[in-house]
Symmetry: C2
Subunit: 420 residues, 2 copies
Amino acid sequence: MAVKNAFYAQSGGVTAVINASACGVLQTARKYPDRIGKVYAGRNGIIGALREELIDTSLETDETIAALRYTPGGAFGSCRHKLKNFDENKREYERLIEVFRAHDIGYFFYNGGGDSQDTAYKISQLSERLGYPITAIGIPKTVDNDLPFTDNCPGFGSVAKYVATSTLEASLDIESMCESSTKVFILEVMGRHAGWIAASAGLAGKGHDQAPHIILFPEIAFDREAFLARVDHCVKEYGYCVVVASEGAQYEDGHFIADAGGRDAFGHTQLGGVAPVLANMVKQALGYKFHWAVSDYLQRAARHIASETDVRQAYAVGEAAVEFAMNGKNAVMPIIRREQNSPYRWSIGEVPLGEVANQEKKMPIHYIRDDGFGITADCREYLLPLIAGEDYPPFENGLPKVARPANKLVPKKLKATFEL
Amino acid sequence: MAVKNAFYAQSGGVTAVINASACGVLQTARKYPDRIGKVYAGRNGIIGALREELIDTSLETDETIAALRYTPGGAFGSCRHKLKNFDENKREYERLIEVFRAHDIGYFFYNGGGDSQDTAYKISQLSERLGYPITAIGIPKTVDNDLPFTDNCPGFGSVAKYVATSTLEASLDIESMCESSTKVFILEVMGRHAGWIAASAGLAGKGHDQAPHIILFPEIAFDREAFLARVDHCVKEYGYCVVVASEGAQYEDGHFIADAGGRDAFGHTQLGGVAPVLANMVKQALGYKFHWAVSDYLQRAARHIASETDVRQAYAVGEAAVEFAMNGKNAVMPIIRREQNSPYRWSIGEVPLGEVANQEKKMPIHYIRDDGFGITADCREYLLPLIAGEDYPPFENGLPKVARPANKLVPKKLKATFEL
């Protein structure tokens, strides 16, 4: 078989372990020098392909590639750029083919969430549509854990471990001080329209009387009175109340809680998430002393507290993507299959890209406690293996070591530039 | 010598390692059964003494005591309660003596910041003032790192490690995405009137061109125009800008930046810290896409990323406090002395409580870069040893293990109760 170059790119919000997937792709590709020539990484995702900004990963040392496994962020740059439908923006697809042809690219590996799998699917259709033969494989990634078919999404387990650990730690802090200081603590977490990340905080405690006492899921309509009553009950009964709120928590009518922050002196919508809004609500209705935290990017970048399971799975889907391509598969995405719960066993499966694109996996309603404020035993059973094990990065001078790839661009071959 | 019981209490905001100091106190006290009878821990700090709510730590197993070393929060409860001057509230001092006498307490160990050392000092005067002989030793603790004499304060090194690590990790995230997404990220950190914690973020990068690009210290008057100019420069020059802001950052006239958040629809002062206010400022003046995080209690509770140096020192000051008492010392506080920078060597010294109380150590101005937005080489040299080494807690089921002391109260001996 002819040697072809490969294109790999990272897409969408990065995670603590997306570079572990990159590591899996690159290390595996290096095992097939008779099939895969160079692996070019898109500088800033698919934008790099459109602009012909291709990072030559063959110039990176084995050590740098290995260090990707423990480096958070997206080592080659990521992007938020969704390819339109073929008929809507044929120009983009034609450009991609020009670039791929110019650099003899025969393999396309795209590492991202739902939108990115849609992009990978569209690329896989290029053979048929534009007569350019290419093998396109998606690689799953998203902290939101909302891709269908796969047991979970690489990136999620590490955020879950960070959120559960942080909730446990902060809860001990508040418990210590509640007699004469803060009584209500609110932690805002990510997850968009899915409550998976918020749910993971529930692993920090068991039962109604343990922190977190309240989890606010996007899947459950926010009821101000019920929320305040539960806060008040917890403070009176347990001395304090720990609330973990999903950024996507919303009222019955679909308004986000975070939207209720009012407007500033200039009439602009007040910035800020759900945590300060809830804190304000508690203060005004109940008068309790409060604190709030918004961990934002810290949670999805926290490689130092990554889940070992997650790191292994992130690596495995990168590795599998290359193996799939080597086995002649096309237009598929590796998925994680849960074989068994306890002890947890998993394997790698596959799903056609056409089926996975643009679908969102919500939390099953039986994962949420009847009162809407916590997780069930089923949910706990699902989540626990995903945060299992630690995979500490090496440290140097007190800080995590990280890969610093040279990211040298391949000389351009095309005369035309491309405006996004 | 007669056997006397000891009183130990935790005071003020808790830290990731204040229980390591408790561990040092309790394990060391157990070595002197012929001198120290039981160690009673105040339930919720000094409040426990006033209310005669004394936790009998002799009922805790050696395993539980050992586990305190890796448990964040305050295992016996802490408080924000400052004893007034003797003449202003003699009633409190008389009550303390009643309780101490009833429980045959001859040693007083008080673990806290500046206010708490003031309390320890007042207790040490009880012998003279009220004729009750007691040995009072302070044990330093504060994430704000603002106690005088000691090289640093137990608790600070671990927050510094958390903040430096989180800043490094989040910066990689933002760098990955800045081409088509967030360009400005703002992390708010603690520290009250001292910029030590904010300074520690500076360890994540070196030089003007590396993240964090801007640190806002309470010690440097906030200049809106200079700040916005620097943000704009960084975005244009480096593609993104990472800002770490101390909660105590303020304008020239002493107004906190956080106060500028305006009022909500009800006319209440808008809650929320400096991060969302700065984000709003950037948005309105420059229009860049932003994200912000407020780590709040997460930073001071983050035992999972504690500094090994900090844990050792926190343990050592607890241990030293008991050894001091056994050596007949009184009204002193153990301090950390820096013997050498590289390799870092330290020892335990002491300072009279009367000198340490109610003083605040500010950051030396030569630790802050001339432009006011970063740290100097001197500051780096000071900070680096304090975040050195990792001291991971054991994990179980994916989460840190923590001590769960039984915290059984000693039966009360006094008839009178006490209203705070």
